[in-house]
């Protein structure tokens, strides 16, 4: 059964026009997200994952600008919408949770007011109904004593509780798409486990599709149905989660998975197979494949030309001239 397509990003480009040159933060990415699906977008700092999510909501600030492509959401191109139309979509059809709940929440309004604001703007309800719905949402995301917490300010809550409030706000209008940008990065591991559990649970209940953006491969393995790996503004590997983790064919994905410390190996205190070098400066990108200066398999071809994102087997796309052949033993918990 083919799931209904919710979001299709076609050749999206977001460039930053700075005094020092053009930074291609998002450099022609293609992504598809189906209804009720979780798409993991993973990469290191500077790979363009956050800019990609802001581009979808058309929230990229100066000097960043869209430089081409389409964002088809429910059959319509978001890039062609007016600011007025976008405002209706943001928060109601597409909602977002950010990394730092303390800066994303307004410190001078109570939690309840902030959640209620979203409901009042986007739904045809009066204040009393909105308040009732707010308390329901706070309860749904597991905030104890929701009626009392309604009138608390963000600084009175812990990080985990604030993130729950953010989720309540994001989910209050039953969005079709939720963008989660490093939503659990600032949280402790036991609190992170709570929040991930909550997101999975709500996703089932509300049938929301999630674009799950993170730098943490382990989180993607837990949350996502499909994974896109990004490096310097380009998708380098895209497939279902199991394939990406069991059979990573791009040398970057492969290297990254091999380099993270394992939780089962007995060979601790041994050197980790690290990826050499570091990410290039966005002002001085290498010719050819962006990964070639760090890639152990690079050839002259890689130094000259940028490989296309190609399907190497059904449903598995890789941007590489020499995909890794033997990926056995890469996934080791």
């Amino acid at each position: 059964m083919e799931k209904e397509l919710l979001l299709e990003i076609k050749d999206l480009k977001t460039y930053f026009y700075t005094d020092d040159g053009i930074v291609k933060a998002v450099d022609g990415i293609n992504l598809k997200l189906h209804k009720n699906e979780v798409l993991g977008l993973v990469g290191e700092s500077g790979c363009g994952k956050s800019v990609a999510s802001l581009s979808i909501l058309r929230l990229v600030d100066q000097p960043g600008k869209n430089a081409g492509g389409e964002i088809i959401f429910k059959g319509e191109d978001l890039l062609k919408k007016s600011e007025e139309e976008m405002r209706k979509i943001r928060g109601s059809e597409i909602a977002m949770i950010f990394q730092e709940p303390m800066t994303a929440l307004n410190p001078v309004y109570t939690i309840g007011n902030q959640v209620m604001e979203a409901i009042l703007i986007h739904q045809d309800v009066n204040e009393e109904e909105a308040k009732k719905k707010t308390v329901e949402m706070l309860d749904l995301v597991g905030i104890p004593d929701p009626e009392e917490r309604f009138s608390e300010y963000p600084h009175e809550m812990s990080g985990g509780m604030r993130q729950r409030a953010m989720i309540a706000m994001a989910m209050s209008c039953n969005p079709d798409l939720l963008i989660s940008d490093e939503a659990t990065t600032a949280l402790d591991v036991t609190i992170q486990a709570q929040i991930l559990e909550l997101m999975k649970d709500l996703q089932k209940k509300i049938e929301t599709a999630i674009l799950f953006i993170t730098h943490d491969l382990a989180l993607v393995a837990e949350m996502a149905d499909t994974v896109a790996v990004s490096y310097m503004g380009k998708i380098v590997e895209l497939s279902n989660t199991k394939t990406v983790f069991k059979d990573p064919r791009h040398p970057y994905t492969y290297g990254l998975l091999k380099s993270i410390p394992s939780l089962i190996t007995k060979e601790t205190k041994q050197p980790l197979p690290a990826i050499e070098g570091m990410i290039p400066s966005p002002y001085n990108m290498p010719k050819g494949c962006y990964f070639h200066p760090r890639c152990p398999f690079a050839t002259d071809e890689c130094r000259k030309n940028m490989p296309e994102l190609k399907e190497i087997e059904p449903g598995h796309q890789v941007r590489c001239f020499h995909p890794v052949e033997n990926t056995k033993g890469v996934s080791k918990k």
């Binding site: 290191e44 700092s45 104890p144 812990s158 985990g160 509780m161 402790d188 591991v189 036991t190 609190i191 992170q192 486990a193 709570q194 991930l196 559990e197 730098h215 943490d216 491969l217 382990a218 989180l219 993607v220 393995a221 837990e222 989660t241 199991k242 983790f245 069991k246 290297g255 990254l256 998975l257 380099s259 993270i260 410390p261 394992s262 939780l263 007995k266 601790t268 205190k269 041994q270 050197p271 980790l272 197979p273 690290a274 990826i275 050499e276 570091m278 990410i279 760090r294 996934s331 080791k332 918990k333």
Partner: protein
């Protein structure tokens, strides 16, 4: 017989919370509350725990960068608890620290060569020429090219800055280094490089590390022994493999089960802890973990469990973990 290089006995560090017109202390944050452990020569001893558990405070207190409130710090058999700053100075040659934030911990106005040379100047080691030679040596050891001597911190990436911080820490040939979250600000592909460097230096320079971190996969890879902290107290200490294979304290069990695993095929039974970490200003009576513990009983509220050796160097602070590692857990009704 393993020789302990550092011993901490009943260490306490309370920070005052001031209020009122006269800024008198109105309450105390019990950041570290009655903690005892030893670090053996040549090992990596790690402290893990969530934010606010006191792990960083311990690291800074044993270097006497913060004055302890009570307890003893014994470095190579000498009680340094009440040493003054001038008495500490000769000892500091042997005890160094690497900080978490590679941006905030380097003076932006000094070139790299001067940053690394500073400890030599402070301790009046050698003349200028000898000092410069040692700086170049240290840079070579940590994998920084000596040509970078005259560059400033802002010209370097996060990973390279962390190398600068490490070079500064080893330039005096210390015996003991506190590494406070040394890789948590780094990207995954850079993390493994820096971990490899730290493990390599330990071999080459016979260093002893106190490693403070929250990433359990990283800690598992680099440590010989691990201490698990919660709300200013040690919950459990054991050899790395013993701790991961046989965690006995309910908090350790929950903490380990919350680690996300980069393998989509493994569905782990997860212990989701309820609620948040209580405030260290007003910690729970008895066992500090009892408010979130699924096995808590009356005795946990009434009596503080002591950290006790239950056999072969495995210490646990729980009323229901008996000698030999037998547990008598029953769920709360």
């Amino acid at each position: 017989m393993k020789k302990s290089i550092l011993e901490v006995k009943n260490l306490k560090k309370y920070f005052p919370v001031v209020g009122g017109v006269f800024s008198k202390p109105i309450a105390w944050v019990k950041a570290v509350d009655d903690v005892s452990f030893s670090i053996f020569e040549g090992e990596t001893f790690s402290l893990v725990g969530e934010s606010g558990s006191g792990k960083t405070t311990i690291g800074k207190t044993i270097l006497k960068l913060i004055e302890p409130t009570a307890g003893q710090i014994i470095a190579e058999g000498i009680d340094i608890t009440n040493y003054s700053a001038s008495e500490m100075r000769p000892l500091r040659r042997d005890m160094q620290i690497i900080f978490q934030d590679p941006y905030g911990s380097l003076n932006p106005r000094l070139p790299v060569g001067e940053i690394i040379r500073e400890p030599l100047v402070v301790h009046r080691v050698g003349n200028k020429k000898e000092q410069e030679e040692r700086v170049v040596d240290a840079m070579n050891v940590v994998g920084l090219r000596p040509e970078y001597l005259h560059r400033y911190p802002h010209e370097f990436s996060g990973g390279q800055r962390q190398r600068i911080g490490i070079a500064r820490a080893i330039v005096l040939n210390p015996k003991f280094i506190v590494a406070d979250e040394p890789v948590s600000a780094l990207d995954a592909s850079i993390q493994s490089q820096v971990l490899n460097l730290l493990m390599d230096l330990q071999q080459k320079l016979s260093l002893t590390y106190l490693f403070v971190a929250h990433n359990l996969a990283v800690v598992r890879h680099v440590s010989d022994r691990i201490g698990v902290m919660y709300l200013g107290k040690l919950m459990e200490i054991a050899d790395t493999m013993e701790l991961f294979n046989n965690p006995l304290h309910p908090y350790t069990q929950a903490l380990l089960s919350a680690i996300p695993i980069p393998d989509p095929e493994i569905k782990k039974e997860r212990i989701i802890l309820e609620g948040d970490i209580p405030s260290p200003i007003n910690p729970p009576s008895g066992c500090v973990f009892r408010t979130r513990c699924i096995y808590a009983k009356d005795i946990c509220r009434e009596k503080i469990p002591q950290l006790a050796d239950i056999g072969s160097g495995h210490f646990t602070a729980c009323h229901f973990v008996k000698k030999g590692g037998k547990t008598e857990f029953t769920k709360k009704s």
